[in-house]
Symmetry: C2
Subunit: 566 residues, 2 copies
Amino acid sequence: MKILRVNLETDDIRYEQVPETWQRLGGRGLVARFLLDEVPPRCDPLGPHNKLIWAPGLLTGHMLSSCDRISVGGKSPLTGGVKESNAGGTTGLRMVWLGLQAVILEGGPPLDKSWKILYINAEGARLEPADDFVGLGLKDTAERLIERYDSRIGISAIGPGGERLYQAAGVTHIDKDRNLTRISARGGLGAVMGSKRLKAIVLDQPRSNKPRLVDETLFGESSRRYLQGLHEHPQTETYKEFGTAAMVNMCNTFGGMPTHNFSAGNFDAAEKISGESIRDLNRSRGGEISHACMPGCTIRCSNLYAGPEGETLVTPLEFETLGLMGSNLGIDDPDIIARLNHIANDMGVDTIDVGAALGIAAEAGLMDFGDSERALQLMEEIARGTPLGHNLGNGAAHAAKVFGIHRVPIVKGQAISAYDPRAIKGTGVTYATSPQGADHTCGLTIRAKIDHLDASGQVEVSRNGQYNVAAYDTLGVCAMGTFGFSTDNTIIPDLINAKYGWGVGEEYLRKLGREVILMEREFNTRAGFTKEDDRLPEWMVHEKLPPHDSVFDVPDSELDTIFDTP
Amino acid sequence: MKILRVNLETDDIRYEQVPETWQRLGGRGLVARFLLDEVPPRCDPLGPHNKLIWAPGLLTGHMLSSCDRISVGGKSPLTGGVKESNAGGTTGLRMVWLGLQAVILEGGPPLDKSWKILYINAEGARLEPADDFVGLGLKDTAERLIERYDSRIGISAIGPGGERLYQAAGVTHIDKDRNLTRISARGGLGAVMGSKRLKAIVLDQPRSNKPRLVDETLFGESSRRYLQGLHEHPQTETYKEFGTAAMVNMCNTFGGMPTHNFSAGNFDAAEKISGESIRDLNRSRGGEISHACMPGCTIRCSNLYAGPEGETLVTPLEFETLGLMGSNLGIDDPDIIARLNHIANDMGVDTIDVGAALGIAAEAGLMDFGDSERALQLMEEIARGTPLGHNLGNGAAHAAKVFGIHRVPIVKGQAISAYDPRAIKGTGVTYATSPQGADHTCGLTIRAKIDHLDASGQVEVSRNGQYNVAAYDTLGVCAMGTFGFSTDNTIIPDLINAKYGWGVGEEYLRKLGREVILMEREFNTRAGFTKEDDRLPEWMVHEKLPPHDSVFDVPDSELDTIFDTP
């Protein structure tokens, strides 16, 4: 495996050996190590000293179900700290098949400010002109790239959101069915890519080229145990049928569904936007139910949302989007949410941060809650790049500052996901303490068998979740895949030993996860973060959330010591 | 002396004894102590737990030339840290004459969201309805208040900028000639006042009511020594003739004049906007040259800018405004700068942060440098409160984030004043290390007899300046007044001993200044600041400033230890 290093300022392209300290890392863990090793912690995230890395997970490359994710990472313009955002699609797979443990972008934009495409195949890499791609939505970008190169290319690209340096812009990856919609959404990494004027990376490696294994038999045998666990897990069927939208009813039942800019935890019309309703609607319209974003995935959680004629309007329509662009805006019509989602996807922006920004716009009187037409207009402002669109495209924290709104649901500048932390307090602990800023994927606790309203014990649940996730994100394992690993602690070590021969034991996963989080915290500390940044918004500590009238009351002292425990 | 505490949420109004630890503090020092004692460091600056304090200086109240300033303070929405912003006018004087060592606003906005005026006279204080003042510019606000109460009232008020929570909004004080234009401009304290829905404080105390003195003879004698020093100082005459606009030629000569969003330090047309040209233009138009903002001031630095008919267009037209709204935007017509200034004054926003935001707008392609008409249009957007206006009214840091601009001249979120720190490096040290964020008034070094381009020795010069200023700001002494104190170190201690009988010595001023800065840094630390916040923008360390091709190269290690030396 090699590192591909590309300097956009100088056009310098170099293949390098993998440094020794990077060899046992991939994905999120490699992002953290890379940031500590190479990125000045106080640098301007959109300036020439920030860098952007693509790092497949340690298990990526084998088409093992839910284990082929790609991490994108750099210093976040949104949080000012460490940022890793992983996604499915085929980027990870094709990068590994090209023999790349990482692709690194560095330097400022080209002196002539021209836009580029980075084309990589088995022979090498080159920068190609892309000025004719400027302003293209991601749908058109994918079509044009496929036309220019090959139908089987991998693509990581930014939409107009990233080009304009919107701080809610992500980096979007193509999936196995040629939808350019799998987004490394959070933290504004698309703006970092845009700041270097790279529109897309094209990975031209159509044929499978799986990495070598130290012990093929062990890998095969432990893969089978994993797949069996995955098949037998009750959640697998749920996600296949409903996608993450299955979560709407559950979260609403717990009173944690973000409603009207996080002013209530119950949405009256939750049923209308639930996974069940969406599946039924899809069926009645003759649409497909779900598909896999990565080759080999047996869960196929990526739901499809069909328009009236059965045509796919958007894929996937995730729970987070239903929460932030649905209930949070008082919108109960899934057709509208799908259209909002489609615009966000085509612009390449995070539906969570942009949805939260629309909630702020509503609170500021720029729209009424529930006004679908106005919500669509506001999304069009984002798409057109008007001053108002810039405000919203920069996410909730900026929108709130611009419009003087006090009730803003953010941690470290990043919007809270669709689980209100006053009702799901363990997830609130994750929002507060994750080095990544508010992000449910860093340690969601809603499935834990605890009273989510009781502050006690939440820190432990969050800690366990955060260690696990940090490790899985390093391996390239999807949240869905963890269902297959959770029942047997020997599978992960067996897979790692079978692939690399490192002889790791059952403690591997947790130790790895903690190591990654401590590296991330170290970067944040060097960037100027303190424990005061590990806090939920002040108003969530004071303002009661109906229906349980709960506030976030996990003590600061517990938040401050969460990672002291191994 | 008493403390007046007003809770806008509950309408509770209370006169309190001055706590013992506050008794030897006033102005900026009292702001720091108050923040440490009463304001949760991590609170939302625009939320109900922030407080806003008015604190006259320790020497305020005697109509001694340049010694009657008022400090306004709170947690800054712009920097997230300590904020004190002092101004002239009559607020300080009238507050002391009302027997008030401080007025404190607290609580959230009234439940019914109505706007209020706080009326104070010798009998007491009351809240009065002010919904009919909403949206009024400061000129109309002053007229309406004078009509409603008395022509001799003191006023501290916010314009529409503060009402809309623009983070560049200040708190504006009326001067002795009834211009409501003396602004506590920096750090967004007007937004804090707006967040509590207080439009104005009216101080109805027409007659002089000077505080008692322990030793009248000593006070009189040391006052005379001070006034003599002031009269004899060469700068006094300069400021009387040109106001702070005198600085244009000097700063331009040093190559530190902000030009085209801080991309050069020499402005070709500097002569056209210099103090000399403005004085001559004024004379030719038959306008007055200058006036005093505080009764008893012998310097009268507040220049007047006359329109073609001799009518006053704006007062004062400060150097900072000529820099940030003139050369920084490539605008060389003082009539245009005066009009931009007038709009800013009427809105109650900081010309430095808004001027820097317009520079960002130009860099983002929203206007051409030098396009006066477009600059006026953008100011009108701020006045109208459009989404674009909100972006600009929130200051340079926000405008840069919104429009994805990398070259933003800020420290701790606050815009750099009109001295480029790459050419005047000692002032750069002040920008970087002052707990207040970038602010020349915290320690301007341009008059120091050193090579401003040489990094060595700048930290010492800045430190001396910062200690001095922090003390003078605690006493209520204007920067101009310091000319009269600088030649004789015994005058300040004599005045303090004559007024209070504290028996302080010559070390008093420097010790006081350092004590104040350490308190401010303590608040910032508790609010989450680290040494990483004490840095100039990264690009100013790399990008060379013409004509000297200088970068800011004072080592971080020196910045980090600046306040270790007493």
